[in-house]
């Protein structure tokens, strides 16, 4: 008696079954191919769009910057005593991207309370793929709060009276600000002492002698002083472009713990800055200049002049402050750019 085998003998696959397997392989291959193609195309498109987006961002940043300046205008309106009516919206901000596209900023300003404004910018290009949003949130406590302070004064000058107008704060005697954002011109009277603790000033510190060379410079105890504690951002504003301080008879000091950023020309009788910070502009002193080595000075230079070369008075405002640039002889320049340099 023969025993039956334990396992069933395998049956050779029929031709129909083999054809069925081939079909599944083909379908799987097609699906995988489609996936690979879509991944490749998506990656390539993304890489191209990423570059486009980068270029768009470059072009759109001026839009954001313009909107920031709009924020400054909002602050000015607040300063003038216009309450929530200072909300300004519009699509006025435009710039051209490096690829020639026009980026337009759609600006919206929200007032959450009487002393605070948030500004949001949505930059949009002509190309529907170029779309980005920049947000700028600024909490602004504005000084002075309303328009009840003096906002203009006339300085008698032999070369013509100079009218300081606009956002003008006249500082006489000891005055102190702490944790506020200031804007406009700050006129330091003789003998004034301005103490700034953790402040932002978008504008210019000026003295009477700074506005008019003929006005006698204050000396000794009458010398105006600016003392900085904590942090200070002194950024030149629109009243006197590129000029952070035009006070050739003033003393500017800050202590070891200070963090100071100055943007624009800074002219004073004496400057003593310690701590850390950056001075982005020419520093001009006549008496003494002591700037801690930890300060970065991008775009700085120095001038030994006691007084700016010229302060150009306009009809109702000082238009700009300039300092003389000492020329380099033409022969030296020629030598510098033609001397042989070995390989």
């Amino acid at each position: 008696m023969t025993s039956a085998p334990l396992m069933r003998p395998s049956r050779p696959a029929s031709g129909a079954a083999r054809r069925l397997e081939c079909g599944w392989v083909l379908v799987a291959t097609l699906i995988l191919s489609a996936l690979a193609i879509s991944v490749t195309v998506t990656y390539a498109r993304h890489a191209l769009l990423a570059k486009k987006s980068l270029e768009f961002g470059k072009g759109a940043s001026p839009v954001e910057e313009a909107s920031r300046s709009e924020m400054d205008r909002v602050r000015e309106l607040m300063r003038a005593g216009l309450p929530p009516g200072t909300i300004a919206q519009g699509t006025n901000d435009q710039s051209i991207t490096p690829t020639g596209e026009v980026a337009t900023g759609e600006r919206s300003v929200n007032a959450s309370d009487s002393q605070k404004r948030d500004i949001k910018v949505h930059a949009k290009g002509v190309n529907p793929n170029s779309d980005d949003e920049f947000s700028t949130k600024v909490k602004a406590k504005v000084e002075p709060a309303s328009g009840d302070t003096a906002n203009k004064t006339t300085i008698k000058c032999a070369t013509g009276d100079i009218l300081l107008a606009g956002n003008l704060m006249i500082i006489s005697g000891p005055t102190e600000f702490q944790g506020v954002e200031l804007a406009g011109l700050m006129l330091l009277e003789d003998g004034a002492t301005l103490k700034l603790t953790d402040c932002v000033l978008r504008g210019t510190i000026i003295t009477r002698h700074g506005a008019c060379k003929d006005y006698p410079a204050a000396t000794g105890v009458n010398r105006p002083e600016v003392n900085v504690f904590g942090g200070l951002r002194l950024l030149s504003g629109t009243e006197l472009p590129d000029t952070a301080m035009c006070a050739p008879d003033a003393l500017f000091t800050c202590d070891n713990a200070a963090r100071v950023e100055v943007q624009g020309f800074a002219c004073a009788d004496e400057i003593v800055v310690k701590g850390k910070g950056s001075l982005k502009g020419m520093v001009v002193t006549s008496d003494h200049e002591e700037i801690d080595s930890t300060y970065t000075r991008p775009g700085h230079g120095r001038g030994a002049q006691a007084y700016p070369d010229h302060v150009e008075p306009g009809g109702e405002e000082i238009k700009r402050v300039a300092f003389p640039v000492t020329p380099i002889p033409a022969a030296t320049l020629d030598l510098m750019c033609s001397a042989p340099i070995g390989s």
Binding site: A36, V41, A47, G281, R297, H300, P327, I328, C337, I341
Partner: protein
């Protein structure tokens, strides 16, 4: 009985070849243009470093220094009043960046096409560290151009849209 073997390519083989080609194209085509921009960024940083160095030297030594953009020799050099290159604070050799010699700070295939600061290819700082006159420099990575202007207020090289 032997199975039939065809001498041509199968659909699968063709698809694999096409996919590989597309992947390679997807990597190479975008990276060629993005790469040129990165090279130009690197060159711009190197040029800005040279300008900062010249200004620092002028300010601290109370003498004229400048950055020479040599279109003929294709190099950038920080020079003193006599036209002699200053010492590079990192390599301690002459502060000369040759565009024809690629290095970690100088990518390959870079060119200076134009440099003009009031008639001279020189950004010059006077003894007070003030850039006496602004100017324009045109550089190129392969076929990708970049135009830069030096601003006297900030001593910073800024990109401007390249012309036609």
């Amino acid at each position: 009985m032997h199975p039939r073997r065809s001498s041509g390519h199968t659909l699968l083989e063709l698809l694999v070849v096409v996919i590989v080609l597309m992947i390679i194209a997807g990597i190479v085509i975008p990276s060629s243009t993005v790469g040129a921009e990165r090279k130009l960024d690197t060159l711009q940083v190197a040029m800005q470093d040279a300008i900062n160095e010249a200004q620092t030297l002028a300010y601290h030594q109370g003498a004229a220094f400048g950055v020479r953009f040599d279109v003929t020799g294709q190099f950038i050099a920080v020079v003193d009043e006599t036209g002699t290159p200053t010492e590079d604070p990192f390599t301690h050799g002459p502060y000369v960046l040759r565009l024809t010699t690629p290095s970690p700070v100088m990518p390959s295939d870079m060119h200076i096409d134009y440099a003009n600061f009031d008639g001279r290819p020189l950004a010059a700082f006077n003894e007070k560290g003030v850039l006496i006159v602004g100017g324009e420099v045109h550089v190129r990575a392969g076929d990708t151009p970049r135009w830069l202007v030096a601003d006297t207020a900030t001593n910073t090289l800024m990109e401007i849209p390249a012309g036609p």
